[in-house]
Structure formats: structure tokens, C-alpha cells
Assembly symmetry: C2
Homo-oligomer: 434 residues x 2
């Protein structure tokens, strides 16, 4: 069979990784695919010294690649929103199949992109958009196709997990570890996307869509970052048998679908609680198979390239019979339903609370009365002694499951108490059942 | 599109699970596949009260299903060798696609079966044959298609892992936990297949073939069971920072491929060391992606059914364009090479040794001289005090990497020493690098 011709747009970290792995492992890949993959053209603003481009046609205009009649598959690795979207839509209009690693693009514009691709009869593949090198899109879309999926819980941002792991193991402050992560290149100069959970919410939006058969709806995702977590919270959670992880949770509930990214206490007996450092892991709980988990590097040049190329191979295999391809969002477009995404106020969760209160008689009675008036049950209370010369004591609590709305009301009332100092820190807890 | 018609042969644990999940999740599956799956016929020696067969055509002759002109996909779930092989070959001869969960069949007769399928232009799929519900065949064949795979290390027998976990956590003897596993239904009355590693070797044979592009060659797999492991070994390994797991290891080495199942000390910092109880996990180390791991239930009615049905969905998707299907052993048949499987004597490994020696001066000198004469370096020695009233002391050692052949010679020489009592227990150690 004749070779399949690939055009790579973007030659940054992932682009250069993809170029190099395709060159290095071309023969091994052809042994699997049964035909050759050829890099027909590269579009990039500048050459990358990590790549030997001497035998490669290179253009400074990425749109030239998208329109190149010789190219079968356009690989979008420029990142960002507007230009990337225009590039992908241009490639589709020119009848090209597309492979992308762009989670923001898919989470925010995927519905439109997949509709355009369906109209032109081309494939848009995006394994690398979620959890880097872990083939988790494939696992969920194809490997678990027999199941009704109940819960997805993922550590899907390596930066955040690196920071929380170092804070927990080395008892260091958030800002201190963040600075180290920036020095190591794990975190950007502006770390908002990672530590505030936006990147994780993009990925979770995609996972929820392919798990439950709903449209991509990033705007409905609830997002909360890790910057308020302290080493004391991590230590206290550990004493109680929990790890705090920055988790993306998507869960099917009778009233709708939960879609939320936030720091979460999870039982330290769960395997996912043991996933440390920059590694990613996605746990899936489904009705037939039960719990499965997929673990590996969530970022980096070659891990991400591994997923990009797996997509290229899949597309190349189906290039002559696109009808046999998996539905882009796992479920066929006419089968995607409008199960609503629950507002975070409707979500039920157990809670970890940390507050500072004066050591007066009656303070604890006031706090617990507020909770009981809202039907919030307390699972554990731990009040530390008031340090010598100080006026306030740390109080830690675990609650049973409560509606977010009620917890918010309770927190407001507790914060209004004269004997409570500052704000109450709340971290959700999850036992990772259905 | 018209429905795809499935014929199920066998209605035991996996057969009934497959029947029930297809019935229960039929609608969810059709949303993904874009067409309906229909159970056209079931072949089984007897009905299974776990299944509502009232609307199903059932025959006592499984070969009737394999020849039924209305059936598109024959699902072989009878297990065993001879009849299963005849059934699968009959189905192929009648132009049916085949899905099987039979690891023994694929590991021992897969080369012949895939050749017959290729000749008839039909698909034989076997995701359920390895690690039950974990979609690890798909992950390796497709998800990691960009990679040169270096190492596979798997906990791929739930019975063995259940026994070792209980021995380690509850300090119980092998025979005691085995009896419990039998009572719980995790182990067969004759547990040989599981505890001697034959079942794991079947699965490892399949994994090695799809990872490295070599033919299935079960006969070259080295197999060693867990019955000689004691709670003391597990405790001592733990003190040194290791867990003992019954591991299947397939590794690419310059001289050939290692293919071996045996108890193995692995660093307890590795995520796979934390996989407990009946759960399975497969770690894959590959050149582009690095380490990834796939975790989940390795057996049971519905977990296995999950994998069987994922295969049915894949086959159904490709039924009109079989040319787009993944090569059965990941690599195209003409690309499968004859890299040799290393004889266990050629394999290099670090070792844990346990022996009993008299507390005479010079004993330790004799033992260490034997080792040093064979260029075996010792990493750690721990000699316990001789218990009151006894003549022999327990000695534990960790060695550096050594060729199996040399270690065997050393053990023979040590056992011949007058001051060493009984035989030396040897357990291989692996740091799970390349």
C-alpha cells in the first residue's frame, strides 16, 4: 500500500517530539500499520534545533500544510485557540484528516469541529489532549464500550500533582514548591492554567463527554485551584487516612452529571491516592468492569508524541474506510443526549473543614448548632490546643455528605460568629464510589 | 444500518456475564456503535439460571452456532483446548468473525488460528484473554503503536496476587491462604494453573508477542510458582524496601527476549508494588511514552464480559471494511520477526537468597567465597541470631545482577557445604527498568 502522508503544524515541545519519534520509530510503526508513514511537510515559525530537518520540506505558513494536496493527515500542534481553530477547520474543509493534542480547542470548540468533520467525512483525533501519553481516550471510547460508565476521577494535571506531592512529603508551602516547579520547567511563569484547574477542567470536559454521551460543555465545569491548601491540611488529612489530590471528577447522578475540578480528600487505600509527582492517572468506574485505572506521564515531548502518533496510526489504518471509525465523542452524534450538568450548588459531597476559633465555652456549641440546623452531620472533630500566648485554636472537621448549597450557608453563618477568626477553609472529600 | 448478529458459545461464568451485559447495556452500546448488536443464538450444554433466555434461540450443539448462516460473530467462551480450537476453526471456515476469552487457546494455538483467519479474511479478537476487563491488548496494540516497547511487567493472575497479598499483610502461610482463596472461589480445587504460573505464562506469551512482534511461543516461557514463598520472605523483603509479587516479565534485551513468570522482589516505591488482592495490573515501559500502567479486575463474569463485548463492538464496527482492522498480533504477519526467546539460564537478574547455616566461624567466608568466585556481588547480608537451643541461623542476602546459570552453580556449591542445612531459597529481584 502507498505511504500515508503527514503534515505537522507546530515544532515546539510536542511538535518536535512527534517529528523525532516518527523518524526514529518509523520502521517499528510501519511493522504495525502495514504501510509507511511519511512526513510530507512541516509548518513552523522557526526550525527547532532538536529536529534534523535536512530531508524535510518546511514552510513558515502552517495554512500551506492544511491546504497541501499531497498531505493526508494534518497534525495541529501549535496550541492556543483562534489560529488553531482556523487551521483545523481549514484542514477539514480541504478534506484532510486531523490529529490534535489541543485540549482547550477540543473542550471549547470540539462540538463545532466534529460537526464540520462529519460533514466532510474526515476524522478528527485527539488522544493526546487528555493525560498525555496514557491511551485513556481509547480505553474509554473503545475498551469500555460495553459499559454504562458511572464515575471518572482523574489526576490530570501533572504540575498540580507535583506541587501537592512535594507539599505533603516535604511539608513545604504551596508558593515554595510552585517556585521549584517553575524552575524545573514543570510550571509556566503564569501558572494559572495549571494550579487553578482550568487545564484539568478542559481534559475533564472531554472525558465526561465520551463517558456519558453528552456534548462538550466546558462552561458548565466547576473549577477550584490548590493555592489555598497548606501543608497542615495535607498532614491532617493523612492522619485521618486521606490524601489530598487535585482531582477532576465526572459522575453520573440521577439528577444530572457532576463535572468538577477541585482539591479532594480521597482514602489513601485507593491506588490513585498513591500516584505521585508529575504522573497522571484516570480512574474509571463502570457497571460491568468495575474500577479500572490508567497511569502514566501526562505531559512532555515524547509521551505526548506517543499519543499523537497512535492517532496518526489509527487514522492511517482507517483512511480507506472511514465508515469503520469510532464516533469522535464515543457516542454517535444522533445518540448524544442532553443530560444536564449539575450546578456545583446541587452537588453533594462530604467535607473537610479547617477554622480558627477562640477558646471560649460555647464556641463549639455554636458551630455545631449551625451545622445541625442545616442537617450537616459531623464525622470527626479535632480541636488542637491553643498555642501558648495565642487566642485562637485550630479546629478540623470531617462532615458527612451534604449539598454544596447547604454547606455554603453553614460556612457563612460560622464565619459570622464573633469567636471565629478569618475564613473557614473547605476541601471536598470523595470515597470514589459511584 | 442493519443489526450485527452475535452467536455465544458457552454459558458459564463469562458466557452468562456476556449475555447479561449485552442485554442490560444494549442501548448504551448501540449509542456508541451506531447500530444494534443482537444475540442471534446461544450454544450451551445447559441453560444458566443467571440468564433470562426466554427470548433467545438456544442449541445444545455449539457447532451449530459456528455454522449458522445468520450469525456474523461467533463468541467462543467454552474454554479449554481441543473443542475450543475446533469450534474457532470451524467458525473461521464458515466466514465468521471470532471473539474469544481463551488465553490458553491463543497462547498455544494462536499462530495457526490467526493464519486461518487471515486466509478467510475474518477477524479473531481476544482482549478478554489477558487481564480480564483491563483493555491492555488495545492499549499495547493501538495506544502505544508509536513506541518501541522495552519491558512488560504484569500482575496477571488474581489468585496468586490475592494469596501473596494476604500472606504479606496477615503474616499467614501459603497453604492457609490458598485454602481461603479456594473457599472464596478465587482459586480452583486444583490450583496448579494459577499458583504455578501457567495461566500467567499464557497471558505473558500473548503480551510479549504483541509488544515485540514475535510469534506466540508459550513453550519458551519460563514458569515458576509461589508455593515456596514464606511469610518471612515477604517480611524480610519489606524491611529491605521490596514487595514480592508473582510477576510476568517480558523484556527486550540485546541477545533476545526474556519471557518469564516467577515470584519477584520489586521496589515498593513502584505503583505496581501497591496492587493488592485479586486485582491485576500491567506495566509497560516504552521508548517514547515511558512507563504506563493499566489496572483493574483480571477475572470475573462481568469484567471479562466487558472485554469480550468491547471486541464484539470493534469487530462490528469493522465488519464492512475488514482491511482497516488492527493486525491480530499488533504487527503485520510479514513483519513478525524471529528474535529469539532467551533461555532462562541466559537471563540476568539480581537475587534474594535465604539459607540456614551453622553458626561456625568460617561458614560465612565459605559462602561468600563461592559467590565471589563466580563474580556474584553481594548487595546486602543479614544474619539473624541463632535461636536459643537451635544449631542453625537464617541468612538473607541480596545480590547484584548475575546470569541465572552462574547463580545455579553457586547455589549448588553452597548447598553442598556441610554447614548449610537444606536448600537455598532463591527469589529473583527486578527494579523494573529497561
Amino acid at each position: 500500500m502507498k505511504p500515508v502522508k503527514v503534515g505537522i503544524c507546530g515544532l515546539g515541545t510536542v511538535g518536535s517530539g512527534t517529528f523525532n519519534v516518527l523518524q526514529r520509530n518509523g520502521e517499528e510503526i510501519a511493522r504495525r500499520l502495514g504501510r509507511e508513514l511519511v512526513i510530507e511537510q512541516v509548518g513552523a515559525r522557526r526550525d527547532n534545533p532538536a529536529c534534523n530537518l535536512s530531508d524535510t520540506s518546511i514552510t513558515r505558513d502552517i495554512f500551506e500544510v492544511a491546504k497541501n494536496p499531497a498531505v493526508d493527515i494534518v497534525v495541529e500542534l501549535i496550541g492556543g485557540y483562534d489560529t488553531a481553530k482556523e487551521l483545523v477547520l481549514t484542514a477539514i474543509q480541504h478534506g484532510k484528516h486531523v490529529v490534535t493534542a489541543n485540549k482547550a480547542l477540543i473542550a471549547e470548540h470540539g462540538n463545532e469541529i466534529f460537526a464540520a468533520a462529519a460533514e466532510k467525512g474526515v476524522i478528527v483525533a485527539y488522544e493526546a489532549a487528555v493525560a498525555g501519553g496514557i491511551p485513556v481516550i481509547k480505553a474509554i471510547r473503545e475498551g469500555l464500550a460495553a459499559n454504562r460508565i458511572n464515575t471518572i476521577a482523574g489526576i490530570i494535571n501533572g504540575t498540580g500533582n507535583f506541587i501537592l506531592t512535594a507539599m505533603a512529603k516535604e511539608k513545604r508551602e504551596f508558593a515554595d514548591v510552585l517556585a521549584e516547579a517553575q524552575a524545573l520547567g514543570y510550571a509556566e511563569a503564569d501558572p494559572t492554567f495549571d494550579v487553578e484547574g482550568i487545564d484539568a477542567a478542559h481534559k475533564l470536559t472531554i472525558l465526561a463527554s465520551i463517558a456519558f454521551g453528552v456534548p462538550l460543555q466546558f462552561k458548565s465545569a466547576y473549577t477550584e485551584g490548590i493555592s489555598q491548601i497548606t501543608p497542615e491540611d495535607l498532614a491532617h488529612a493523612k492522619e485521618l487516612g486521606y490524601q489530598i489530590k487535585h482531582l477532576g471528577i465526572a459522575r453520573r447522578k440521577p439528577g444530572g452529571i457532576e463535572l468538577r475540578v477541585h482539591p479532594t480528600l480521597i482514602p489513601d487505600t485507593k491506588l490513585i491516592a498513591k500516584v505521585d509527582g508529575v504522573m497522571n492517572a484516570v480512574m474509571v468506574d463502570a457497571d460491568a468492569v468495575g474500577p479500572t485505572m490508567y497511569y502514566g506521564p501526562g505531559a512532555g515531548a515524547e509521551p505526548t508524541a506517543s499519543a499523537v502518533i497512535a492517532d496518526i496510526v489509527d487514522v492511517a489504518r482507517s483512511i480507506d474506510s472511514v465508515s469503520s471509525v469510532v464516533a469522535p465523542l464515543a457516542f454517535h452524534s444522533e445518540a448524544i443526549d442532553d443530560t444536564k450538568i449539575l450546578d456545583i450548588e446541587e452537588v453533594e459531597s462530604a467535607y473537610y473543614l479547617r477554622m480558627q476559633a477562640a477558646d471560649h465555652p460555647g464556641v463549639m456549641a455554636n458551630i455545631t448548632r449551625i451545622l445541625s440546623d442545616l442537617n450537616i452531620n459531623i464525622e470527626a472533630i479535632n480541636q488542637k490546643e491553643v498555642p501558648e500566648g495565642e487566642q485562637f485554636a485550630d479546629i478540623f472537621m470531617l462532615t458527612r455528605e451534604v449539598r454544596e448549597k447547604d454547606m455554603k450557608a453553614a460556612i457563612e453563618a460560622i464565619q459570622a460568629l464573633a469567636d471565629v477568626s478569618g475564613s473557614v477553609v473547605t476541601i471536598r472529600m470523595d470515597h470514589l464510589g459511584h
